[in-house]
C-alpha cells in the first residue's frame, strides 16, 4: 500500500531548503552594456563581453549591486564589507565563456531571515525562514534542442543557442535548512516564495514573473523518521515555476521519498525535474559524481566593497514590508481575514488598492475583483489583472454608484471590456446598456404591467405590499433588465397609493 501525503508526514519529518533565482530588471546586462529587453531576435543583444570573446573585459553594473544590497537588507541580511566574484567553470554551451561569473565563498549578503505566516488547524502560525546567502551572478543563454522525439536533450541531434539572456543580472537567494514545519512544509515553502516575491516586487528590482522565468525556484527536500534527530538525503527539484507548483513539488517529493523509504530503498542525491501536469518529479542528472566547478576568484573584476554610509542610504529607501502593508490595508478597508487571504492568494491586492485609489468604494472594489472578474479569468484560465484595468473597474463602480448602471448591467459592461469591446463607455454605447431611469418610460411599463395584472394591482392598493413583486418583475422583464429595480418599486408603489 502506497502512503499518501498524510500518512507520509505522520511517519517522516520533512526538511526544506529553497533556492530562488531572480532576474534583475536592469536596463543593461551584468557585465556589459547589452540590452536586457525580452523578445529580441536571437543573438542581437550580445557583444564581445557576453560572448566571451578573447580579450573582452567585463565591468559590473552598479545598479545590479545596488539591487542586490537592497534585497539583502529587505531580507534582514548582513551586507558583506568585502565581496568578490568567482568563476564557476563547467562545460555546457549555455554559457559561451565556458564559465559563469558568480560568487562563491564571498557573497554580497549573508545571514538573514524572512518571517512567513501560514494558516494551520490552530489558526495562523509564524515560521522564520533563515537566509544563508544572497549572491550575484549572471543568467545563461537559451538552448533549443533539435531532433529527438521529446525535444529534451536525450536524443537531440544538435542544440541551437541564443545568448541574448546570457549575462542578464541574476540574484540567487538561498535559505538555510528549514526544519520544524512538520506537515506544513508545503505551505511554508509556498508562503516563503510568495513573501519573497512580494518583497522583490515592492523593491522594484525585478519583474518577478514566475511563469515567464524571471523568478525560478529550486526545492530541496529530505525526509527523516520523526524523532530520529537526523537528516535524510535530499533531492533538488528544479523547474518549479509557479507558487502552486512550489507547494505541489514539496507534496510530490514527500510522497515519493516516503514510499521509497518504506520500501527499504535509499534516496539518491540528485536533481529532479518538476512535472507541471502530474505534480510529480522525474529524475535528472545524478549528483553522485560530485560536481567540480573549480571556482576561483574572477581576475577580470575587482572586489565589491560597499561602504557603510551607502548601505545606510539604501536602507533608508526600503519600502513598507508587504506583510505590514497587508495588515494596514486590511484595517483601512475593514476586510475579514478570510477575504483578505483570498485577495492576497489571488494576487489582487495591488489592483484592488489601485481601484480604491481611483475613487471606488472598498467593498465594491474587492467584490468585483474577487467575484465577477475572477470568475471570468477562471473561465479563460488567465490572470484577472490581464482582463481589465483598475481604472476601468473604478469607472464601472462609479456608474453603479450614480445609478447609471445596475449590478446586472455592470456585469455586462465588464464582460464586454473583457471580450475586447473597448472601454466601459464603448461597451455601454455599443450594447446600448443604460439604466432606464427616465420616469416617463418606466411609467409606461408600469401602467402596462398593471393593465396586464389588474388583480395584483388591486391587492397592492389594498396594502399587500409584497404582491408588488410580481408587477416589478413584469416591468423589469419589459425593460430588458435595464431598469433600476429600486426606482421601479418606488414609482409603482407611489402610483398605487402606497408611497411613503
Amino acid at each position: 500500500m502506497a502512503l499518501n501525503y498524510d500518512q507520509a508526514v505522520a511517519k517522516y519529518d520533512p526538511t526544506l531548503g529553497l533556492e530562488v533565482h531572480v532576474e534583475l530588471n536592469t536596463n543593461s546586462k551584468m557585465f556589459c552594456g547589452c540590452s536586457t529587453e525580452f523578445g529580441a531576435e536571437p543573438n542581437t543583444q550580445t557583444c564581445p563581453v557576453c560572448l566571451g570573446l578573447p580579450g573582452a573585459l567585463p565591468v559590473v553594473n552598479g545598479k545590479a549591486i545596488e539591487s542586490s544590497i537592497l534585497i539583502g537588507l529587505a531580507l534582514n541580511c548582513s551586507i558583506a564589507p568585502f565581496s568578490r566574484f568567482a568563476r564557476k567553470n563547467y562545460f555546457y554551451p549555455d554559457m559561451p565563456k565556458n564559465f559563469q561569473t558568480s560568487q562563491y565563498d564571498e557573497p554580497i549578503c549573508v545571514n538573514g531571515y524572512l518571517d512567513v505566516e501560514i494558516e494551520t488547524e490552530d489558526g495562523p502560525k509564524q515560521f522564520r525562514v533563515e537566509i544563508e546567502r544572497v549572491h550575484m551572478e549572471e543568467d545563461t543563454g537559451k538552448s533549443l534542442h533539435v531532433g529527438g522525439a521529446t525535444g529534451r536533450i536525450h536524443g537531440a541531434e544538435y542544440s541551437l543557442l541564443d545568448y541574448n539572456r546570457a549575462g542578464i543580472p541574476l540574484v540567487e537567494i538561498v535559505t538555510k535548512i528549514v526544519g520544524g514545519t512538520g506537515k506544513y512544509a508545503p505551505e511554508v515553502a509556498r508562503a516563503y516564495v510568495t513573501e519573497l516575491r512580494d518583497i522583490l516586487r515592492s523593491l522594484g528590482v525585478s519583474d518577478v514573473k514566475m511563469e515567464q522565468g524571471s523568478m525560478r525556484c529550486d526545492v530541496n527536500l529530505s525526509l527523516a523518521p520523526i524523532g530520529s534527530g537526523s537528516l535524510g538525503t535530499r533531492s533538488e527539484t528544479k523547474n518549479v515555476n509557479s507558487l502552486r507548483s512550489v507547494e505541489r513539488a514539496v507534496i510530490g517529493e514527500v510522497i515519493r521519498q516516503a514510499n521509497r523509504l518504506e520500501a527499504g530503498e535509499r534516496i539518491v542525491q540528485e536533481t529532479r525535474h518538476f512535472l507541471e501536469e502530474s505534480g510529480q518529479t522525474r529524475p535528472g542528472r545524478s549528483k553522485e559524481q560530485a560536481e567540480d566547478y573549480r571556482y576561483f576568484p574572477e581576475p577580470d573584476l575587482v572586489p565589491v566593497v560597499p561602504d557603510s554610509a551607502w548601505i545606510e542610504e539604501l536602507r533608508a529607501t526600503l519600502p513598507e514590508k508587504p506583510s505590514n502593508r497587508r495588515k494596514r490595508l486590511q484595517i483601512e478597508w475593514s476586510v475579514p481575514d478570510k477575504e483578505m487571504s483570498s485577495l492576497v492568494n489571488a494576487g489582487l491586492l495591488d489592483v484592488v488598492e489601485e481601484t480604491i485609489k481611483l475613487g471606488a468604494e472598498p467593498t465594491r472594489a474587492r467584490s468585483w475583483w474577487l467575484g465577477e472578474i475572477s470568475r471570468l479569468a477562471n473561465e479563460r484560465e488567465v490572470d484577472p489583472t490581464s482582463l481589465i484595468t483598475p481604472g476601468q473597474v473604478a469607472v464601472v463602480i462609479s456608474l453603479i454608484e450614480s445609478g447609471e448602471l445596475t449590478d446586472k448591467l455592470a456585469r455586462q459592461v465588464v464582460e464586454g471590456v473583457v471580450a475586447g469591446e473597448g472601454t466601459p463607455a464603448d461597451v455601454i454605447t455599443k450594447r446600448g446598456l443604460k439604466v432606464v431611469s427616465d420616469d416617463g418610460a418606466l411609467m409606461t411599463a408600469i401602467e402596462a404591467a398593471i393593465a396586464a395584472q389588474p388583480d395584483t394591482a388591486l391587492r397592492v392598493r389594498g396594502g399587500n405590499i409584497p404582491a408588488a413583486g410580481a408587477l416589478i418583475g413584469a416591468v423589469m422583464k419589459a425593460t430588458g433588465g435595464q431598469a433600476d429595480a429600486a426606482k421601479v418599486r418606488e414609482l409603482l408603489l407611489k402610483h398605487l397609493g402606497q408611497g411613503e
Binding site: 543593461s28 574572477e298 575587482v302
Partner: protein
C-alpha cells in the same frame, strides 16, 4: 613536494574535456608537480599578514552605469561560429546532462 597524482591529472583532463593518452598523463603528472612546487615556494615567503591576492592592483568598486550600449549585429555575433542555424549558434548534441 606538492604532489599531484596521475588520477588528479586524469580528473582535470576529463573536466576540461581533453582526451589524453596514458603516456601524456604520466608525463603531465610529473611536470605539473614541478610547477606546483615552484608556486608553493611563494607561500613560504608570504607571511600570515599577506592576504591571498586575486588581483594585481589594489582597487575596489569599479562599476559602470546601467546604460544600454550598442550590441553586435546577429551576423557579427555569429561570424566566428563554426556552425549556425536560425540565427543561433549550432553546437553538437549534449549527452548525459539536462
Amino acid at each position: 613536494m606538492a604532489a599531484i597524482s596521475r588520477d588528479d591529472v586524469a580528473h582535470l583532463a576529463k573536466l576540461a574535456r581533453i582526451d589524453m593518452s596514458n603516456a601524456e598523463l604520466d608525463h603531465l603528472a610529473q611536470e605539473m608537480s614541478v610547477i606546483l612546487d615552484a608556486v608553493a615556494r611563494v607561500q613560504e615567503v608570504a607571511g600570515s599578514d599577506v592576504p591571498p591576492t586575486s588581483h594585481p592592483i589594489p582597487v575596489n568598486n569599479v562599476v559602470r552605469e546601467d546604460v544600454v550600449l550598442p550590441s553586435l549585429s546577429q551576423e557579427d555575433s555569429l561570424s566566428g561560429a563554426p556552425a549556425q542555424a536560425e540565427g543561433r549558434f549550432k553546437v553538437p548534441q549534449i549527452l548525459g546532462e539536462e
